[in-house]
């Protein structure tokens, strides 16, 4: 039996694995270990959902100062916006909250309040500096109570591939008709659509559609008012001329499609700028504020807010952290390093030269900012809205009847929430 030869290397391998993982374990525990030795050094756990670039700035330029000022250590985790409710619920139910403060997409807040996973911060509202734009504070208010604090507003800008636009003698569209023309031209010239919409479903699709409907003068939560019908009819017309990648386009993948030149025009948050232009070297990709609809130009103000989960072990420190993130100092770093728009009227960063035109377009788009309605049944609305999008835009069902159906279902949901 030469099979016996196997046994020795295998045992060696397993022992090796054990040692490495044990070392890993110890390594992990080494961080809390000094806590017991030097009790004044608390660990503040933060969860956010950021890109690699953004994490780098946070960890190198923003966290260290806070750690020094408050003699603590920050541990940060990447938790996707969609996973955060489950993560918090898990920890609340197990009775051990390991996150002290979290950042969350301001479109996915209702469920956190609904499930009772966050602390009521109404008592600390006075902590918010006066320079913070009032409208941004309202996004964190549910049923009259303030649960979330603003720290990052965001707005989608429109990316376009300047080289390709020049090649076909086009200029970036300023309204829906031009958008349709541009999409048609690309499809004619190249045989494949080059304008990208985010059709993968979920928050990216909802957010984009919200903008479209408002700029057509409709109310998305109604489903079948005039603006909604107009928007869906327009999208049905537009869909065949769009890039085939639209079906899998989300916020993250949109960057890839633009970089791959699979799409020449697409809307996305500004976080794509450093990725597309700097990481992937696509300097021909430019941005502008966007196009207007038949009634007005509108861009949803998105972004992130900070909240404190129920049972956070270091609530006081977490509040200090929120205060720190809202400070002029931090807001200016974020603006200059990442071209993030600021929540403060007085924070204007000195962005790097190459980034200036992009930053300009962000500020321009902010001028057309709108806030989406802050309703408790947002999660249900989101599901229905996505279903409607899939049925009408992707699968081509008749607009009016389908929207009527969803309007009725929406009414039922509203009733469940007591009108």
């Amino acid at each position: 039996m030469d099979d016996k030869k196997m046994v020795k290397p295998l045992s060696l391998f397993l022992i090796f694995c054990l040692v490495v993982s044990a070392l890993g374990c110890i390594g992990e525990k080494e961080t809390p270990a000094p806590t017991t030795a030097a009790p004044e050094k608390t660990v503040l756990s933060i969860s956010m959902s950021l890109t690699e670039e953004e994490w780098k700035v946070m960890r190198e330029d923003i966290f260290p100062k806070f750690e020094e000022d408050y003699n603590c250590k920050i541990e940060s985790y990447e938790v996707a916006a969609g996973d955060l409710p489950k993560k918090l619920e898990s920890m609340v139910k197990a009775g051990k909250m390991e996150i002290d403060v979290f950042a969350q997409d301001n479109m996915q807040l209702a469920i956190l309040v609904q499930k009772g996973l966050v602390e009521d911060l109404s008592a600390y509202e006075s902590m918010i500096p006066d320079e913070v734009i009032d409208a941004l504070i309202e996004a964190g208010r549910f049923n009259g109570k303030l649960y979330f604090m603003p720290y990052r507003p965001n707005v989608q800008i429109t990316y376009y591939n300047e080289a390709k636009f020049k090649e076909y003698g086009l200029s970036p569209p300023t309204n829906w008709d031009e958008l349709l023309d541009v999409a048609k031209t690309f499809k004619e010239k190249e045989g494949v659509g080059r304008v990208l919409l985010k059709g993968a479903g979920g928050a990216p699709t909802t957010c984009q559609m919200y903008e479209f409907i408002v700029s057509a003068g409709g109310d998305p939560l109604e489903f079948n008012d005039e603006g909604c019908i107009r928007t869906f009819e327009y999208l049905q017309k537009l869909w065949p001329y769009l890039s085939p990648d639209s079906k899998t386009a989300k916020w993250d993948t949109t960057n890839t499609y633009i970089a791959q030149e699979s799409a020449y025009l697409a809307q996305n948050w500004p976080f794509g700028v450093p990725i597309i232009v700097k990481d992937y070297g696509k300097t021909e990709v430019k941005t502008y504020h966007g196009f207007s609809g038949p009634v007005r130009e509108a861009h949803v103000i998105g972004g992130e807010v900070l909240g404190i989960p129920k049972g956070s072990p270091h609530k006081e420190l977490a509040l200090k952290f929120i205060e720190y993130m809202q400070s002029k100092e931090v807001q200016e770093i974020l603006a200059s390093k990442l071209a993030w728009p600021s929540i403060r009227t007085d924070a204007t960063g000195k962005v790097e030269d190459w980034m200036k035109p992009y930053y300009e377009s962000i500020l321009e788009a902010m001028k057309y900012g709108i806030f989406r309605k802050n309703v408790p049944y947002w999660t249900e609305f989101d599901k229905l809205f996505n279903d409607a999008f899939e049925e009408i835009v992707i699968n081509g069902k008749p607009v009016k009847e389908t929207l009527d159906k969803y309007h009725d279902e929406m009414e039922k949901v509203k009733e469940n929430y007591g009108g």
Binding site: G82, P85, I111, E190, G191, V192, G199, A200, G201, G202, S243, P244, D245, K247, T248, Q260, E261, S262, T379, K383, D387, E390, E391, I394, N395, N416
Partner: protein, 293 residues
């Protein structure tokens, strides 16, 4: 099945105490963490979406009206049927090639086994690179002049499914090949010699000697692969996303993206029923005794 044998044990407790103690942890684990959760999932599927009274069919009536569920049902059956047949055909071709003697056979075998060393999620990402609109397959077709405009592999009903079938084939055909190769090696060479003497051609020998003798191995490959093909998950999840669902990815999206455990449970239950039906129909047709090994 386990339950019957379990009660059978009880009668023999005194006789086989030692064995029972040894087997107990295994049995407890399987009951606690496999059978238990499955029953829990089935129960969950009868709970209401809006917390209605148990049992209710609300989740089921929700999903059967959901257009993605119908698509998932069709896609799963399509991928299983087409995928299995193609994997069997190509596995057979590869096994036949490998049963020949030729220069570089060892290297060829090693190359064929490469997919077994690739985790499924990794093969899914590799296939996504290849089948992307600006991916390597479109580039290849473009360079050899077959297409001008990149093909959109995600549009239509059959095209996206075929990409998934190809991806699945890449990953598991080597396994089918190994099973069939084991079968080929078990066939007595003298049978072929005798047939040759009788003047039987290559095809004739294959049809009348190889195939019948391979039947148990084919059955094994079909059962093992059939179960996995129904449960296919990573490949469609990564390559096709939400708009081309299969049963597993439908259940996943219902739970993870739409936060709806009850409809997800209903989807999983229907998938379980599908597998049970398919397997029992197949085993009825060919008989059980061939499955063991």
């Amino acid at each position: 099945m386990s339950f019957v044998s379990f009660s059978f044990f009880l009668k023999r407790i005194s006789k086989n105490k030692f064995e029972i103690i040894l087997i107990l942890p295994l049995a407890l684990f399987v009951f606690g963490f496999t059978i238990g959760p499955i029953i829990q999932a089935i129960m969950m599927s009868f709970e209401g979406i809006f917390g209605g009274n148990f049992p209710t069919l609300a989740s089921y009536s929700y999903i059967v009206h959901h257009h993605y569920f119908k698509a998932a049902l069709f896609n799963t059956i399509f991928i299983t049927g087409v995928g299995l047949s193609l994997e069997l055909i190509f596995g057979m071709i590869l096994a036949l090639i490998l049963s020949e003697k030729f220069f570089g056979r060892g290297i060829f075998r090693a190359v064929m086994l490469l997919p077994l060393g690739i985790p499924t999620i990794v093969s899914a990402s590799n296939m996504a690179f290849i089948f992307s609109t600006q991916g390597f397959l479109n580039e290849l077709l473009y360079r050899i002049g077959l297409i001008e405009v990149p093909i959109d592999w995600r549009v239509g009903t059959i095209k996206p499914l075929m990409t998934i079938v190809v991806a699945d084939m890449w990953k598991v055909t080597p396994l089918v090949m190994l099973i069939l190769l084991a079968g080929l090696e078990s066939i007595d060479k003298q049978l072929y010699e005798a047939a040759k003497v009788d003047g039987a051609g290559r095809w004739h020998r294959f049809r009348h000697i190889t195939l019948p003798l391979l039947k148990p191995y084919i059955t094994m490959a079909l059962v093992i692969r059939g179960i996995d093909a129904f449960r296919i998950f990573e490949l469609p999840l990564v390559m096709a996303g939400r708009h081309v669902p299969v049963m597993s990815s439908y259940a996943y999206f219902e739970y993870v993206e739409r936060n709806n455990p009850y409809t997800s449970a209903a989807g999983a239950t229907i998938l379980l029923i599908m597998i049970i039906i398919a397997i029992s129909v197949y085993l009825k047709a060919v008989g059980t005794e061939e499955v063991t090994r």
